[in-house]
Symmetry: C2
Subunit: 206 residues, 2 copies
């Protein structure tokens, strides 16, 4: 890898870390370049604006997380067990983040939604697309569970959106209390939201 | 009211509006004073820091919202109907905000939790206290519904937290899609989360 792409990656990585820890609005280009250890002049060679950088950070983060969600939600496990696995890995991810930087940083997409979605239209649209992808992936699993008679929902898409909303709300509490363990409740709440017919105790560990 | 308290109120009001629209981190004291139409020098007469101002904005906002929550959740209506009313008024509040400033601004406490709770300890603690108050108030209603045999929850406090998490997650979507109507789903989801035994159709309009 040459020096040019190194510098772009360094800026992206530094911005990613800073945005996760402190949000977007309070960051300056100079600070990002300093953290990335690249000359400030090179920033605009790679990104036409701070907003363009934020979009690149969002895309990069979703590329990784989307891979995780696909691996989990498209697996051969029973549908509800896939959701259980998603919650367990989300909790493990927040715990790993807490252990590496001392504080639960929450969901990058949720953070940026509340910080920015009513301020910049390109970021709003990008975040809408990501949450739609997430809801679609959960919906597919809910539909499979429905076909097996394991859940009782009137509208699989709405139900999937509620599961993702519950995830975001509980991740917010995990961040507020700096406690990934807050996410332990997700599985039980998901079963309630989906009107799951499978008793929780009868399900094998996820 | 003398000029001094006028200036404090003006700073608070301007900061409240700016924080609702754009968050906290990107705001400067000079900008707040300009919006408040007070000399910049007067800011530190009333607030020792921008953080102190944020805490005052949070307290003022909760003073108003707490009054609304008490009026709704401590009313004589049947317990589940009180929750329904809370969701309906939350939706109406987001709609009124959208009509006055063109965009759904979401929940001030949720916004600041995701923006700031892992950065400043005083703000984290204040927001924790507010969400604990909210959960306690919902828990009281859930317990009443439980005593009437209308819901089936293992732990009323955990259930109340899930209802508030669902509220925050759906308000996040309302902000993301600039659509207060996203909150229509709250009532049905609340019944699911609480394992409500009362069929939705049998309940009178809230």
């Amino acid at each position: 890898m040459g020096r040019i792409s190194d510098a772009r990656e360094k800026i992206l990585d530094a911005a990613h870390e800073l945005i996760e820890l402190r949000g977007y609005s309070g960051l300056g280009v100079a600070e990002i370049c300093k953290a990335a250890d690249v000359p400030k002049g090179s920033f605009y060679y790679f990104f036409e604006s701070k907003e363009a950088l934020a979009l690149a950070v969002i895309d990069e983060h979703w590329a990784g997380e989307h891979g995780d969600w696909k691996r989990i939600l498209h697996s051969d496990a029973e549908p509800l067990q896939r959701l259980r696995r998603l919650f367990a890995e989300t909790e493990a991810g927040q715990l790993a983040g807490q252990q590496s930087c001392g504080t639960v940083s929450g969901c990058l997409f949720g953070n940026l939604t509340l910080e920015l979605s009513n301020q910049t239209e390109p970021i709003r649209l990008r975040l809408q697309k990501i949450f739609e992808d997430q809801v679609d992936m959960v919906e597919q699993v809910v539909t499979e569970a429905q076909q097996r008679g394991e859940v009782s929902v009137a509208d699989a898409h709405e139900a999937a959106r509620s599961v993702v909303a519950q995830l975001e709300g509980q991740v917010m509490f995990a961040k507020l209390y700096n406690s990934p363990q807050r996410l332990e409740t997700l599985w039980h709440n998901c079963l309630s939201l989906l009107g799951a017919r499978v008793p929780q105790a009868a399900l094998p560990a996820g």
